[in-house]
């Protein structure tokens, strides 16, 4: 067994869980010790996982797409009924296929670097030990999900990861979550949405006889539209089930209508690490979508694609006027995830997953840079009060510019090939949909352009533009602050090198499952596809011109009728003042209060009525008893004897004596 690659991967997980337990059981500790415990466990996990990769390659000795499953535990048996159905086992285990291992390694590496970066910002008061525990448990749950052998295991661990992430977030927030009521609490939506997805899937699977697909008793589904095939029997039923499951994916990926939670993450301290965690969760959403893809009918896929495209466009627009440097990145993470989801749902999984992997590396680097900025400016995060920081943080300035280039696919680096491939496929898909389909294509293209401008604005405003007053703080960047983004920059650049041909590798890894063909982009494959490499240069030019005379020019640009209004409206309504408050939370709260009052009133009055009823019954019995007693017990003509100790009645005694 020890020679099995899954075993080596599995060893990485207990290392993380134990480190989390050590930190959890010393909840008040602060300083460097909890950080060291986490970093040590993460480093061990990285080492073991690399061993796992080596074992896997040695074990397989064949195509990288092969999956090896091992160490499967039959966790729970769902008995068959007495109508001849066979029992179904829910399996837990490790399935080290190429896609899962790629995400596993990427997320683990980013988490290790993130914790190293965090240790540079840790102070004597924060973060507390228990924070590290939730952070590392969330990570461990996500890693198990990447290598899950069954759909139910995948959903269960994704749910655990979301819950742990939420606990980590809530632990160090001083302010309540945005908006009134219950559902306004943004991050709550992740576990709720995911629970919904899980239960819907279970329900649909149970109702449809497709449970063995979900539980892992049958091989991982290879054909499309499992729900449609094994279902309530109808295509529409399969679509409804698929859309419900899609809500879980959308919730995990912070897409409409669950888009608000990454912004809540950025309001906590230490914010960069929260952003990082949200980025990891977001990065896992495309993986989840890809894994659950066989459960989506074509209609369900289109639904998810439309939601993701709309999110990409709206979130990108919302970041154009965002003043908080962390929230710009949070919004752009949603954009990136939205685009990856669109690609996956429209048949180009290789493009979506490549975009997600490289984007995850680059976006995490940018988030660390934002953490460095905040740390070195006495927690100043308002973009309007920053500027000219390239003198104090030169390495961060250079690395972040290069990371932006990588993230937007500039100069044929980073995400360029993935974007071109995905957009080309999307164009073909959209043309097939007809006139309205062009909108599905237009939204991500426009979102990409706006994202590029937004990122350049972010960079320019932080590092280049001359500030009105010097930003607070005097400290300079430390090696621990610059080292992790550099590693991520190198990693993302390397992963996107042409000789590796990452999209093709991922395509091969997926080749045994349903997916669209890779359609290489040609010169006429749609608007802007071949202009992506130059988009970043164009954006830089736009921003440079806009800021050439300070803020005023850009502000004038943003006053173009419509753009500024849309941007402000989106920023305020998509993220801060919750739309759920009015749509859902308040009516539900009101109804619940009415029910509770009625319940309390009824329970009180029912008991009173019961008591009254028993009392009335008692009275009745007493009356009947009295009548019975008067009639039967004392014989007619016989008087009841007076009580022995009763005093003589004064009036009667006197009247008797008088007579």
């Amino acid at each position: 067994m020890i020679h099995h690659p899954s075993f080596v991967f599995l060893l990485a997980i207990p290392a993380l869980i134990v480190a989390g337990c050590v930190n959890y059981l010393r909840p008040e500790k602060t300083g460097i010790a909890p950080s060291v415990i986490s970093i040590t466990a993460l480093a061990m996990a990285v080492g073991l996982s690399m061993g796992g990769v080596a074992w896997k390659l040695g074990h397989i000795g064949g195509p990288v797409s092969s999956a090896t499953s091992g160490l499967i535990i039959h966790w729970l048996r769902i008995p068959g009924g007495y109508f001849g159905h066979k029992p179904v086992w829910i399996d837990l285990g490790i399935r080290s296929d190429t896609l899962g291992v790629a995400f596993f390694m990427t997320v683990l590496l980013i988490a290790l670097l993130g914790h190293i970066h965090l240790s540079a910002s840790a102070s004597k008061s924060e973060p507390k030990s228990v924070y590290y525990a939730f952070s590392i448990w969330a990570l461990a749950a996500m890693l198990v999900a990447f290598l899950a052998v069954s759909v139910l295991q995948l959903l269960a661990f994704v749910l655990l990861a979301a819950l742990m992430g939420w606990l980590m977030l809530m632990l160090s927030r001083d302010e309540p979550v945005s908006g009134p009521g219950l559902l306004a609490a943004g991050p709550l939506l992740i576990p709720i949405g995911l629970s919904g997805a899980s239960l819907a899937l279970v329900a649909a699977g149970s109702a449809t006889g497709g449970l063995h697909w979900l539980a892992g008793s049958a091989p991982w589904p290879k054909t499309g539209a499992v729900m449609q095939m094994h279902t309530l029997g109808t295509y529409a039923g399969g679509s409804v089930a698929g859309i419900l499951v899609g809500f879980g994916v959308l919730g995990f990926g912070a897409q409409i209508p669950f888009q608000i939670w990454p912004h809540e993450y950025s309001k906590s301290s230490p914010s960069s690490n929260y952003l990082l965690m949200s980025s990891l969760i977001l990065g896992a959403a495309p993986f989840l979508a890809e894994r659950l893809k066989p459960f989506f009918t074509l209609d369900a896929r289109l639904f998810i694609a439309i939601a993701a495209a709309a999110t990409a466009l709206m979130a990108a627009l919302g970041t154009l006027e965002e003043p908080d440097i962390r929230q710009v990145l949070a919004g752009l993470s949603s954009v990136l995830t939205g685009m990856a989801l669109v690609f996956i749902m429209t048949g180009s999984s290789a493009a979506g997953l490549t975009l997600s992997l490289i984007g995850l590396l680059a976006m995490s680097g940018l988030m660390m840079v934002s953490g460095t900025v905040v740390h070195n400016t006495d927690r100043e995060a308002d973009i309007n009060r920053l500027g000219g920081l390239w003198r104090r943080l030169p390495l961060s300035a250079i690395f972040s510019l290069l990371l932006i280039v990588v993230l937007t696919g500039g100069l044929r680096t980073g995400t360029c090939e993935a974007l071109r491939l995905g957009l080309a496929n999307l164009h073909a898909y959209a043309v097939g949909l007809g006139l309205w389909g062009e909108l599905l294509y237009g939204a991500p293209v426009l979102a990409l352009a706006i994202m590029t401008i937004s990122l350049m604005r972010w960079w320019w405003r932080i590092f280049i533009i001359k500030p009105r007053s010097a930003p607070p703080g005097t400290t300079r960047e430390s090696p621990l602050h610059t080292f992790p983004p550099l590693i991520l920059l190198i990693g993302s650049l390397t992963a996107s090198m042409a000789f590796l041909d990452l999209p093709m590798l991922i395509h091969r890894a997926l080749s045994h499952r349903e997916m669209g063909k890779i359609v290489l982009p040609t010169g006429a494959s749609g608007l802007l596809i071949n202009d992506i490499p130059w988009m970043v240069a164009g954006a830089l030019l736009v921003v440079a011109i806009a800021y050439s005379r300070g803020d005023a020019t850009l502000q004038r640009l943003l006053r173009i009728p419509g753009i500024n209004l849309i941007s402000r409206w989106l920023r305020s309504n998509m993220y801060v003042a919750d739309m759920y408050g009015f749509i859902l939370a308040r009516p539900i709260r009101l109804i619940s209060i009415a029910v509770a009052v009625l319940d309390q009133w009824l329970s009180g009055w029912l008991v009173v009525m019961l008591a009254l009823g028993i009392g009335a019954l008692g009275l009745l019995v007493a009356t009947v008893d009295g009548i019975w007693t008067l009639r039967w017990w004392p014989a007619p003509g016989r008087r009841m004897p007076p009580p022995i100790d009763s005093p003589p009645v004064a009036g009667k005694a006197s009247s008797q004596s008088t007579s």
Binding site: E28, A200, S592
Partner: protein
């Protein structure tokens, strides 16, 4: 017949706490330590004795489903009542569980400051009656223990409860007595089964009262009016006792006014007893009814689930919120019993044990908070994770388990029950017995899921309101978690995780044959 089938150990188990309560009654009232140590020793002895019974019990798959360790004495021939005790794997497991819960309760009772003798006597009497009910095989004996257990619960609430304890205990007492009255009425309304209640008959046929109840239902099936009366009386009695949505009217006050240690045994014991009766007595009866009866009950429960979840959402009182949650758990168990497949019954069993472990955690946390803040108002709490990190760390598993998160004790049970509500296959006869209504059945499942969502959201919000945010200045004096408080929470956390991670090993496999026998009662 193997020799292990007859033994006096169950009688000893029932008698031990009752005898110990007499001994405690004879101790001087000012000997606080002596009284307490005697009670702890008695209940520890009970755990040991229960463990010995577990050891004596034959767990082989072909034997664990049958009643063992039996003892039969004639009692009141005119009423067909016998002292007939015996256990199958399910009862054996629950007796061990109740013994452990009682011991934990006594250990946690260090804070009780007045009328100690009466307190410990009540606890031990309650334990004895609960064990008696779980071991009883004669339905009359069961009903007797069922009714006797009300009195210690009534006194424990009325004497050691909160400010409105008298109202709460009166409400519970009245309704629980009513439930017991209904149960007795059901027994006496079923003349066809009466002849089977004699010890001789039972001994000759190897029958238990549960099997008798099945025969009773079969006989009654030929007399529809009798069957309906019997069914509705049983449903009402057991629903009232466990507090299913709609019949939970005593539960909120009872949860609020029962404080600390006694609450764990009173609420947990009552829940176990009622759920056990539902699974054993209600299940076979319900399954033999027509699909329309069962679908009617299922729909009423479904609507009740939504209403109780909404009611929980509106609560600002942590005690009332726990009551709503408990009522929802009762509904889930009832759904499992309504579906009456092997999976759903196993789910209901897991749900029963998991719910009591979680309930004990939540109640204890509520008590700890109330001791310090002097209220349970959620809108006035907050920042407890910073003030009492130890409490946060040890209570979080309980809250997470209450949401039925994977890896914690309620997940497997809830999963199996929900799955059973959706049925086995729409094309064939479905679990709830209405094959032509498969889509309605799916709608019912969706309603149930919606209710669970609301409860999950409410619990997440509760965690947020209690533990997170800035701590209030007036709570800066909060004492950290004491050693005893930690000692009570720790085993609950361990139980919680063990049951969540290993449900097959700890519950499903050992009890598989007993559950299979129960599920097959109505098939053959």
């Amino acid at each position: 017949m193997a020799s292990f089938q007859y033994s006096a150990i169950l009688t000893w188990l029932i008698a031990l706490p009752l005898v110990a309560s007499v001994i405690v009654a004879l101790l001087p009232s000012n000997g606080v330590r002596l009284i307490r140590n005697t009670a702890i020793a008695a209940l520890a002895g009970m755990v040991v004795l229960a463990s010995v019974a577990v050891r004596l019990f034959n767990w082989a798959p072909n034997a664990a489903g049958h009643f063992q360790l039996m003892q039969i004495w004639p009692w009141i021939p005119a009423l067909h009542a016998t002292y007939f005790v015996g256990v199958d794997a399910l009862s054996m497991y629950l007796i061990l569980f109740i013994s452990a819960l009682s011991l934990l309760t006594v250990i946690a009772s260090y804070g009780i400051g007045h009328q100690l003798r009466a307190y410990y006597i009540s606890i031990m009497l309650l334990t004895g009656f609960l064990v008696g009910a779980l071991a009883a095989e004669n339905i009359f004996l069961f009903a007797l223990f069922f009714i006797l257990s009300i009195f210690p619960m009534y006194f424990l609430t009325g004497l050691w409860g909160g400010d409105r304890r008298q109202s709460a205990s009166l409400k519970f007492g009245l309704l629980a007595l009513m439930a017991s009255g209904l149960l007795f009425a059901a027994i006496f309304l079923a003349p066809h089964a009466a002849h089977l209640h004699s010890a001789g008959e039972a001994g000759r046929h190897g029958l238990s009262h549960w099997v008798v109840s099945r025969d009773l239902a079969i006989v009654a099936a030929g007399h529809l009016s009798t069957a309906d009366w019997f069914l509705w009386l049983i449903v009402l009695a057991l629903g009232l006792r466990i507090g299913i949505p709609g019949l939970h009217i005593w539960l909120p006050d009872f949860c609020c006014e029962n404080r600390g240690a006694p609450a764990m045994l009173v609420l947990g014991g009552n829940f176990i007893l009622a759920a056990y009766a539902i699974e054993r007595l209600g299940g076979p009866l319900l399954h033999l009814q027509s699909g329309h009866v069962r679908i009617s009950i299922a729909w009423v429960l479904g609507v009740g689930v939504i209403l109780i979840a909404l009611s929980g959402l509106a609560q600002n009182d942590l005690g009332r919120l726990i009551a709503s949650w408990l009522s929802l758990q009762a509904a889930l168990i009832s759904f499992g019993v309504l579906a009456f497949t092997l999976g759903s019954l196993q789910g209901a069993l897991l749900e029963m044990i998991g719910a009591v472990i979680t309930l004990a955690s939540l109640i204890w946390v509520c008590h700890i908070l109330q001791l310090r803040a002097h209220h349970r108002d959620l809108s006035r709490l907050g920042g407890i994770s910073q003030l009492m990190p130890g409490l946060f760390v040890l209570s979080l598993p309980g809250f997470i388990a209450a949401m039925a998160v994977p890896g914690f004790c309620l997940f497997a049970g809830e999963f199996l029950v929900i799955r059973s509500v959706f049925g086995l296959h729409p094309g064939k006869s479905s679990a709830l017995g209405f094959s032509s209504f498969a889509h309605w059945q799916a709608v019912l499942g969706v309603i149930l899921i919606l209710g669970l969502f609301l409860m999950i959201a409410t619990l997440l919000w509760t965690i947020e309101r209690v533990f997170f945010g800035s701590p209030r200045p007036e709570y800066s004096h909060f004492q950290k978690l004491t050693r005893m408080e930690r000692l009570v929470l720790l085993p609950l956390v361990l139980f919680n995780l063990a049951l969540g991670l290993l449900p097959m090993l700890l519950i499903i496999d050992p009890l598989a044959s007993a559950m299979r026998d129960l599920a097959h009662i109505s098939v053959h």
